[in-house]
């Protein structure tokens, strides 16, 4: 799963009704482009695809004062289910882009659920980091491609940094920071 579907579904859900350009505009205002790349064409594709799958419904065409007509979308019941599925997956994900997208929408879940998911994601991330470290010491230092020991080091550092972030986020959530609509 790429983060785009979650982002599109979540944004339409949050806005109530939205056309493609509005979704793009909002995501851009979130400065999503600094941490993941969401090109307009991908958003439009995701909207169409989600509509085709019945996760979104087209709520008519508006002709806006400025510019061409636009297709307005709303989320469906099936879309809501899909959204929460993606959201839970993202908050558990060791992929930094997915995790980021999930985090952005976390207020849709109760605090306790977010904490449970993030604790699992932390456990997973640390497990991967440790596995990579173990593989690293299993690898004799070999001065030839692909220099696996160093490559494993690059990735274990990266997962280590992500784990630190998750740990500090979990602590802040436990201290009662951030507000949740469903608490």
């Amino acid at each position: 799963m790429s983060a785009v579907r979650l982002l599109v579904l979540g944004m339409v859900r949050m806005l109530g009704r939205a056309h493609g350009y509005a979704v793009h505009r909002e995501l851009t205002s979130w400065q999503i482009d600094t941490w993941t790349s969401v090109k307009p064409a991908s958003l439009y594709h995701a909207l169409k695809q989600l509509a085709k799958e019945g996760k979104l419904r087209t709520a008519g065409m508006e002709s806006s004062p400025e510019g061409p007509g636009r297709t307005v979308y709303e989320i469906t019941a099936a879309g809501d289910v899909e959204f929460f599925g993606y959201l839970e997956g993202a908050l558990r994900s060791i992929d930094i882009e997915e995790l980021g997208a999930g985090f952005a929408f976390m207020q849709a879940l109760p605090r306790a659920r977010v904490l449970a998911l993030l604790r699992e994601q932390l456990r997973q991330t640390e497990a991967v980091r440790d596995d990579l470290k173990t593989m690293m010491s299993d690898h004799p230092v070999r001065d030839k491609p692909p220099y696996s020991q160093d490559l494993l080091g690059l990735w274990s550092r990266s997962f280590g940094a992500n784990a630190e972030w998750s740990r500090s986020l979990i602590e802040r959530l436990e201290r009662g920071e951030y507000s949740f609509t469903r608490d």
Copy 2:
């Protein structure tokens, strides 16, 4: 650019002649799957595409003792140019997957060139990390989606970890570790 083209081109170049399954087998033996995902179908697509573009040439069909016939590829002069282009791009890239793929093939360049490229990639990575940190302090702490401050923190930590790795790699290269065929 995804890392797949570099990986395929580099592997065919390194092996001299290779069919799709051999490329996949070698990359798997590199445990490339621990740090990037290269699914067989992507490799076959890349081989065909590179052949179509004249970067690879098909050097006949072999019928192997075990299993079906296989198409053997060789790199062309244009492919060699492409390879070095990708390689230099990858060693300068702030994308961890590209950087990893470039690093795996670094022995194809002289040590001094690798050092120059990695110094540039370190500079770039640190610049991005610092930009993200600056943006973070520009963002008032706002308890609402998408929690930009925290998201920026996640990414700056990640780039920070990558920068540390690059710095230590550069040091090892300066101390004369790793051997280079073209020195």
